[in-house]
């Protein structure tokens, strides 16, 4: 608090001349960062004008005819965008539920397991998928879920006919597969922070609970979980904030024309509208803008929520 006051009084009291003399070099030092920010963040923002234009390459951003909201009308009345939006929301919700809690469960199982050496071994093995690149991960998924793949064979034991699961256009198969791939990749690595936090729970609390006759399960629900709840809430609100930026990043590597209806997400829709055979820069920019605004709203809301719930915030 005192620090904030200090800053405020400094800004008010110091004259520009004096500040320039004192901090001039500081501002010069910032120039490279400023140039970078302008090139990769602020200059592209002018391109957003394209979302309101009937963009043509020959006339450029500032010369193309202005069409107002027509691109957005086209987006929302066309089917492609509506489906992509639905799929994005569905995958986002799945990643925040089915995709979020396995990590916590895994951390709990891991920390409850008493054998220290084996515990470490299991943990190290669970890190492996995190070091597999997205391209490799998606080709592994394609391989294992193909008609003769190992996972397909395993599922067939329970009844469903062998098929290429990634080519199955029924809801919600692609969504669940996508979420589970994320779980496979992120569970072990994501558990580090939970495991650390669980291990930091005061041992005396556990001891007291055990003396009171609490079994292991009761100790988890009454001692461990309440202690790590703030962390879980923080991680969850952070995940909500980032979900529109992160969901669907690997869809481009997994989908195919037959599953476009269920697998297309906002980012892939934007991509096809940008570089596909039916490229339309106006539409693509409009859909990118829509995604960006939604992402920003979610980030701000979740940040507020996080501050309220756990005192932690992203920025």
């Amino acid at each position: 608090m005192a620090k904030k006051k200090n800053v405020a009084s400094y800004v008010k009291k110091t004259s520009w001349k004096e500040d320039m003399r004192k901090n001039g070099i500081l501002y010069v030092i910032f120039v490279p960062v400023l140039v970078w920010l302008i090139c990769f963040h602020y200059a592209p923002m002018f391109g957003i004008l394209m979302a309101f234009e009937d963009y043509s390459i020959t006339q450029g951003v500032f010369g193309s005819p202005w069409v107002g909201m027509q691109n957005f009308v086209d987006l929302f009345t066309g089917t492609g965008f509506a489906l992509a939006f639905r799929n994005t929301v569905a995958m986002a919700i799945l990643s925040l539920t089915l995709g979020f809690f396995p990590t916590i469960l895994f951390s709990l199982v891991l920390t409850t397991f008493p054998h220290k050496r084996m515990r470490r071994g299991f943990q190290l093995l669970s890190y492996l998928p995190n070091f597999v690149s997205a391209v490799v991960m998606c080709s592994l998924a394609t391989e294992f879920l193909s008609e003769r793949g190992a996972i397909t064979q395993f599922i067939s034991l329970f009844g469903p006919e062998a098929q290429n699961w990634l080519a199955n256009p029924n809801i919600p198969i692609f969504w669940v597969i996508y979420t589970l791939i994320g779980v496979w990749q992120g569970m072990g690595w994501g558990s580090i922070i939970y495991v650390t936090s669980i291990n930091n729970v005061n041992g005396e609390l556990h001891e007291a609970a055990a003396l009171d006759g609490a079994n292991r399960f009761q100790r988890i629900t009454h001692v461990t979980l309440p202690a790590v709840m703030p962390l879980i809430i923080m991680m969850w609100t952070m995940a909500i904030g980032m979900v529109f930026k992160t969901v669907g990043t690997n869809v481009l590597l997994l989908y195919m024309p037959i599953t476009y209806d269920v697998a297309d997400v906002l980012s892939t829709y934007t991509y096809r509208m940008s570089f596909g055979s039916t490229a339309n820069y106006g539409l693509s920019t409009a859909s990118g803008l829509f995604q960006s605004v939604l992402g920003m709203i979610l980030l701000i809301v979740s940040n507020k929520l996080g501050k309220k719930a756990s005192g932690a915030s992203l920025f």
Binding site: Y42, T112, I192, M235
Partner: protein, 298 residues
Amino acid sequence: MKKLKRKEGMVENTSIGSHIVNVILGLILAVVAFCCVVPMWHVLMSSLSDGKALFAHSGLVLWPVGDFNLEAYKIVLKDNSVVRSYLVTIFYVVGSSLVGLVLNVLAGYVLSRQSKLRGPLMMLVLVSIMFNGGLIPTYMVVRGLGLTGTPLAIILSGCTNAMFMVMVMNGFLQVPIETVEAAQIDGAGHFQMMFQVMLPQARGLVLVTMINTALMAWNAWFEASIYVPRTKEWWPLQLVIRDFISRNQDFLNYANPDYNRYLVQYAVIVLATIPILLLMPFFIKKLEENMVIGAVKG
């Protein structure tokens, strides 16, 4: 066993029920570990199999199918695009990390100092976290700068982001004010202050940003596919793998298919993944620590 328990400060009952629970927990962990290891093992063993036998085989490959065979690796290594893309990727990883380091330290330093413009500059950085122009506008600016088709497009676009700058700033803000003042009295200039006084003190967070940048650069393929689509000599490893795999889908269309070509996709995956898995044990501890620091302070 008893010693272990006391060390962990636990009062454990040793009933049969508790042993059964332990076994169940162990089984769950074993299944998870199995799922994490087996896909890569399957690929490794497939790459060493006989092409034709593997093509007819279905399901998990836990041991080479048919005769042990290294042809796939010969094909891949003869085609020098894999080796070259390896070097290109290393160049991208090192380049992005270093450029990112410099930008992050500059930004973090300026933002951690008291000045009249600190507020507006901070705003400028934060807005770029929340909002961006999108795919096409960014692409057009990069093209306008004449960077498309050059490796600079990939290094500069992926080297940092506002989040990392804020993290480094937070690291610098933790440096005790006494240290800073002492250095100032000793006559340290801005750059000495940044790299010799503050950087060593905030190295944990700075390392987090560098590792994350490096990992992102290692994984990246999308940026290359839009910024250097036609200059294959600047393709990173991941894009080359993707290209290998998609080109391989149609090997059967040839009149006399060479089944070793079917193995190539496995071989490139192995070549791309094994080195990183071999490196992993050396810095896993550091990475774990950094995960926790990054999550708590980021």
